[in-house]
Subunit: 387 residues, 2 copies
């Protein structure tokens, strides 16, 4: 074989290989399948990737863990705030307390801050949502700082919120729930409609807890850091890569589960307007003068309990590029929304034959999609293409 | 350039072209888009393809047409049965009467039979669903034969059914609706639960209207041709290519829209069981002894009014192969179900931002997907991939 023939053969081999590979990964349809990566998690709530193989996982009813996705080893992070209260002590299913979100500082290599939200207790008073940060050193949290303490502490143990995301502007956006179960317990001005009450709001803060100068103005009496209001129970909050907009999920009472787009100064209406029904049928919200409400971009007719949503930007599912992935607790399926700008084009409910309460969907730095299941034996599951 | 160099260049060009084309049609995600093929149809109900470019279209409130998909020409087929009644004469939106299904004989070239279902009137008595066949000769129907006449004729003008499909066994399967609007009007034995009543049933007949010997046995008093019962209002019926099973859609009252798999002798439960709510809240169905009901394979929590469904077997959407496509009147979107055997794996609602009442989804012989919109200016629309 002369040199040119050899080159030609190499070219032909390369060509045919390229076509075969293209066929395997594109022509044949790929469907999502589940692969269990980790088990034995105690109602995991959130995951933050330190790398493609290492992550922090917050267990709602357990610990903050460092996990190795390859060796499957789990290490408990020491030094979690001692005022944490979780729902291990109770048998009531509706107890929402525990550890919620965990975020890693975007500049973690030089600024090893970990941001956490959780249900904090004050002895003899009650509980509330707290947002803290601490530095991670040798699997221990040190140099704790409190960023948000959503007083009042109350006896209610519902709807802490606790969703957090770093915005494209480097600020942290935080959801704080309204904390009530029954609307009949609302004060004269409903909690989420009262700018003086910290609950039922969305906040925008600097990573050190200070308030950005360019936050919207809700008036002198407003609680600091306020960015949006009229929130009942929002857990999932994420950034849309194509638009830099922030999207968040919200739980309704009877139906009324929603997806919203966050806008500065927006009022999402709770409890004055909802796409579902009020739980207290005899409750009449007061008339609020001069208030306009921002409608959801999507709501379900049935109960989904949407939680930690994320936009998909990986390569494994080309059809899903920039789609919004929304897990749900109640129906236990995974939702996929195809969106152009802010218009929802289609909605797909996945895993109809394999339902499990899902708390969070997240992507690793290399674009792999993971979910966390809300179970006693909670799991980290990778959503993989199956050809 | 010597000969070998030329060959090499050709190989490289071919190779790169191949990759480009593969990329265009596979690597890049394809999304469904709508292309209007024909307009000016009067509430079209069904379409039957004579070829890839010619079809018969039944207009619910008009005529049976022969249409040319390329030249856009429409020809009225003469000789449609004169006892047809449609809803042109009334303004009541809920009038379901008109022309329904149109099927072409599988051996049309030698046996040019056209099968049609429609609302027939009898003067001074009322209307009912009729299934007829006639030979198509020079755009005229001749040699009419009545295959099913679903007496009694009544004053109700709801829920005629009229869905028809040729089974893989060469038999025709026909849905006949229950014809009531209010459950409070049910006789002692509900219509759809009474084997002596022709309404609210699914039939299996030979193409000439005779009854196959191997039909299920519903007892001596049963109406001839009976195959399934307990039907309220079913319009869509289609064959699943992978299993040869027959699937059909059914309208509920308040919610309760369903997809069912047809089984010989099955009872789908109406009005004794429904996945929705009864319209007459004071109506109590009688207890039926020794009757077991077949549950739906899918039901919606909201009102969809699912109609003429079809399995997709084309090549344009590789991800959709063998998926069930279900149009709906009420939500105006198009549903896509990924199914393995009889298990629904995922459900996608398409065209959320472009809703229109859709009566039928059908495929041309060359695997292109079409829908018919239920409008005064009804349209034949092709669902095309958009890259």
């Amino acid at each position: 074989m002369n040199k040119l023939m050899l080159s030609l053969t190499v070219v032909l081999m390369g060509c045919s290989q390229g076509q075969k590979s293209s066929k395997q990964h594109s022509n044949l349809p790929s469907f999502p399948s589940k692969k269990i990566i980790l088990e034995g998690l105690n109602h995991p709530w959130s995951i933050a990737f330190l790398s493609n193989k290492e992550a922090l996982i917050s267990e709602k009813d357990g610990n903050l863990l460092r996990v190795d996705l390859q060796s499957k080893e789990k290490y408990i992070i020491k030094g979690f705030p001692t005022d944490l209260t979780d729902s291990i002590r109770v048998i009531h299913f509706g107890d929402n307390s525990g550890i919620f979100e965990v975020l890693i500082d975007p500049h973690f290599e030089t600024e090893p801050w970990i941001y956490m939200s959780y249900a904090a207790k004050k002895k003899g008073v009650g509980t509330t949502t707290k947002v803290v940060r601490a530095k991670l050193e040798n699997d221990s949290l040190v140099n704790h700082e409190t960023l948000i303490e959503a007083e009042p502490y109350t006896r209610e143990y519902f709807h802490y919120g606790g969703g957090m995301v770093f915005g494209p502007d480097g600020k942290i956006y935080v959801t704080i729930g309204e904390r009530l179960f029954w609307e009949r317990d609302e004060p004269e001005i409903p909690i989420a409609q009262d700018v003086k009450d910290k609950r039922g709001k969305i906040y925008r803060i600097n990573p050190d807890g200070s308030i950005p100068d360019d936050n919207p103005d809700f008036g002198k009496e407003a609680v600091p850091g306020l960015y949006g209001m009229g929130i009942r129970a929002a857990q999932g909050i994420t950034v849309q890569p194509e638009t830099n907009k922030i999207w968040f999920s919200e739980h309704g009472t009877i139906q009324g589960d929603e997806i919203n787009i966050l806008e500065a100064r927006a009022n999402y209406g709770w409890p004055n307007v909802t796409s579902g029904k009020l739980r207290s049928s005899d409750y009449k919200p007061p008339k609020l003068d001069g208030v306009s409400f921002t409608p959801p971009v999507w709501f379900w007719h049935h109960t989904v309990a949407p939680t930690g949503l994320t936009f998909y930007t990986g390569d494994e599912f080309p059809q899903w590029k920039n789609n919004l992935i929304v897990p749900g607790l109640s129906r236990g399926s995974l939702w996929r929304f195809r969106i152009e700008d802010e218009t929802i084009k289609s909605a797909e409910e996945l895993f109809l034959d394999d339902r499990v309460r899902i708390r969070k969907a997240r992507q690793s730095p290399d674009g792999k999609l993971y979910i966390l299941t809300d179970e006693d034996n909670g799991k980290l599951i990778q959503i993989k293409p199956q050809y």
